[in-house]
């Protein structure tokens, strides 16, 4: 069984929104039609997006940390949005686990968006159908593209490689290794949706230095300066000779 997914490294994301714009660019020009916008240059612009980057502040000044948080459909393994759809327009593909909406069947009842706890489904206000991330299903299998470009548009756009893409059911895939070894976690585990997308936490590199590491045991007189430079004919010993 394959379950394609994204793994997003919050330690690396700089919040540049490159994934948001490239997602919009790819998906508004795709075979499934445009993603509509209203008043894009007006006072109150609004539009349909598959991906958003949000920013959270953790802690209290001065001990704060900024977390940039990209958010799109998590392609849940137990997606609550799918069984509620009355038409079957929302479905999960058995072959690769991608959750999709069939725009020709959707009646725009919005029930699936109520049933997604993550708020990642957006109704297209002009086509009146529900839309959401497709994991760029129209490019990841496109054999017309060079193999390293058969990835979601957001993954290709990310300048810091904060977005990994792959099969989370294959234990040896890059995404699985990242989840396993770098503490990947799922959002809102309390609802049992089992999101396929995972997030890698912020990680700080700490070093601990002990007192005796500050005192050089091989320099008991604490004399700094050039080490003595014996003649080339003298026997050589580490820390004594300079070559």
């Amino acid at each position: 069984m394959t379950q394609l997914a994204l793994v997003i490294d919050l330690n690396v994301c700089v919040g540049c929104h490159a994934c948001v714009t490239s997602c919009k660019e790819w998906n508004t020009s795709g075979s499934a039609g445009y993603l509509s916008d209203d008043r894009p240059y007006g006072e109150d612009p609004t539009g349909c997006f598959f991906n958003r980057v949000q920013t959270f502040e953790v802690g209290e000044y001065p001990r704060t940390e900024t977390v940039h948080f990209p958010k799109s459909c998590l392609h849940c393994e137990d997606p609550p949005c799918v069984p509620v759809c009355p038409t079957g327009a929302s479905y999960k593909r058995p072959e690769d686990g991608i959750v999709l909406v069939d725009y020709d069947k959707c009646i725009g009842c919005k029930y699936c968006s109520w049933a997604c706890p993550y708020g990642v489904r957006e109704l297209d206000e002009h086509q009146k159908v529900m839309k959401k991330c497709t994991l760029c299903v129209d490019r990841i299998y496109d054999t017309g593209l060079p193999e390293d470009e058969r990835k979601p548009a957001c993954v290709l756009a990310c300048p810091t490689s904060a977005r990994l893409f792959g099969d989370v059911h294959d234990s040896d895939s890059g995404v699985s290794v990242a989840i396993r070894e770098e503490g990947g976690y799922a959002l809102m585990p309390e609802w049992g949706t089992r999101p396929a997308n995972h997030y890698l936490p912020r990680r700080k590199t700490h070093i601990s230095i002990h007192r005796d590491e500050l005192d050089r045991y091989d320099n008991p007189l604490k004399k700094e300066g050039e080490l003595p430079k014996p003649d080339i004919s003298e026997p050589s010993l580490d820390d004594v000779t300079s070559w």
Binding site: C48, P80, P83, S113, W114, G119, R121
Partner: protein, 325 residues
């Protein structure tokens, strides 16, 4: 959640229609066991037609909720998993049975026409009506389960949602039936009115229970679980866009806190005490005006009640949309 007018009208109108049908059938079954005098076939036929009219009006309102009403027929497809799909099936079934019930009354048919002699007068209407009652309760269940089945909308995810939809529908339907009986000038006014008062008082108990329950909800999701960071202080600095999106429009009621609280008191007064008093006055004083007032007040109150029902529900996705930026 943002309360949509279409859904408010859908749920309240079909509630009245379903309650009205239950009232008619209750009267007929009381008559069948000899507790009430017989009514004219026209009374049942007109009543059933009105019940169907309420359901049709609700159905029309629901179409305004859909982005693609022309594809609504597709919504019957997933009845195995979706309560919305089940409602889409239960609604026309209930409507059809109510219509047949009225028609059979009007034509005066009974099972003898099919060659089955039971010796019970009006056996066919009793049978069709019983099926209609099953469909009506099924429809209450489907409508309410649409909301009660979403487990993370914690205000809705409770059996009280189903109970309230049912009891409030019955109360408003019996109130309407009282008015209808008065207009038809039958002796059923007291019967319907008495049950309307009982149902309204029962609804008061169940609705207050759900208000009480919802006042003490512990939310399972928090900003911490939403972004997966373990820290007691997390605040949003940007939701990723300046103006609104579907997520900011659909899941927030957008009304002021004060108005939100007003609506609660408006419906608590209009749905329960006002109709009870007016029903009492209407029955004892034989006043059609009071009965009209009772139904008008209760229905208006139910619109407010439904608005509040939606507005009160807190969707966990709102955790991601706290600050514009």
């Amino acid at each position: 959640m943002h309360p949509a007018l279409s859904v408010i009208f859908l749920t309240t109108l079909i509630g009245v229609g379903q309650g009205l049908f239950l009232a008619l059938y209750t009267a007929e079954s009381y008559h069948a066991v000899g507790l009430l005098p017989a009514q004219s076939p026209q009374f049942y036929a007109a009543g059933a037609l009105l019940a169907v009219a309420f359901l049709v009006a609700g159905l029309v309102a629901s179409f305004f909720h859909l982005g693609h009403p022309e594809r609504a027929w597709r919504a019957a497809a997933k009845w195995r998993t979706s309560w919305l799909s089940r409602e889409v099936i239960a609604l026309p079934v209930a409507m059809g049975l109510m219509f047949v019930y009225g028609a059979v009354h009007y034509m005066g048919w009974d099972l003898a026409r099919l060659g089955i002699e039971t010796g019970i007068p009006g056996d066919l209407t009793l049978l069709v009506g019983a099926l209609g009652v099953v469909a009506t309760f099924g429809l209450f269940l489907c409508t309410a389960m649409i909301y009660a089945s979403i487990k993370f909308l914690q205000e809705w995810a409770s059996p009280l949602t189903v109970i309230n939809y049912t009891v409030l529908g019955i109360a408003s339907g019996f109130t309407f039936a009282t008015l209808f009986a008065a207009l038809f000038d039958t002796e059923l006014v007291n019967f319907f009115g008495g049950w309307a008062i009982i149902a309204t008082l029962a609804a008061l108990v169940t609705r207050l229970s759900s208000l009480l329950r919802n006042a003490h909800i512990k939310y399972k999701s928090s900003t911490q679980t939403a972004i997966g960071v373990r820290h007691s202080i997390i605040s949003q600095r940007s939701q990723g866009f300046m103006s609104g999106s579907f997520n900011t429009r659909e899941f927030f009621h957008g009304a002021s806190r004060l108005w939100f609280r007003y609506v609660k008191w408006i419906f608590l007064i209009l749905v329960f005490p006002v109709p009870v008093v007016l029903l009492g006055l209407g029955i004892t004083g034989d006043s059609q005006g009071a009965l009209t007032g009772a139904f008008a007040a209760q229905y208006t109150g139910l619109l407010a009640e439904r608005w509040f029902f939606f507005a009160q529900a807190n969707h966990p996705q709102n955790l991601y949309y706290q600050t514009v930026g």
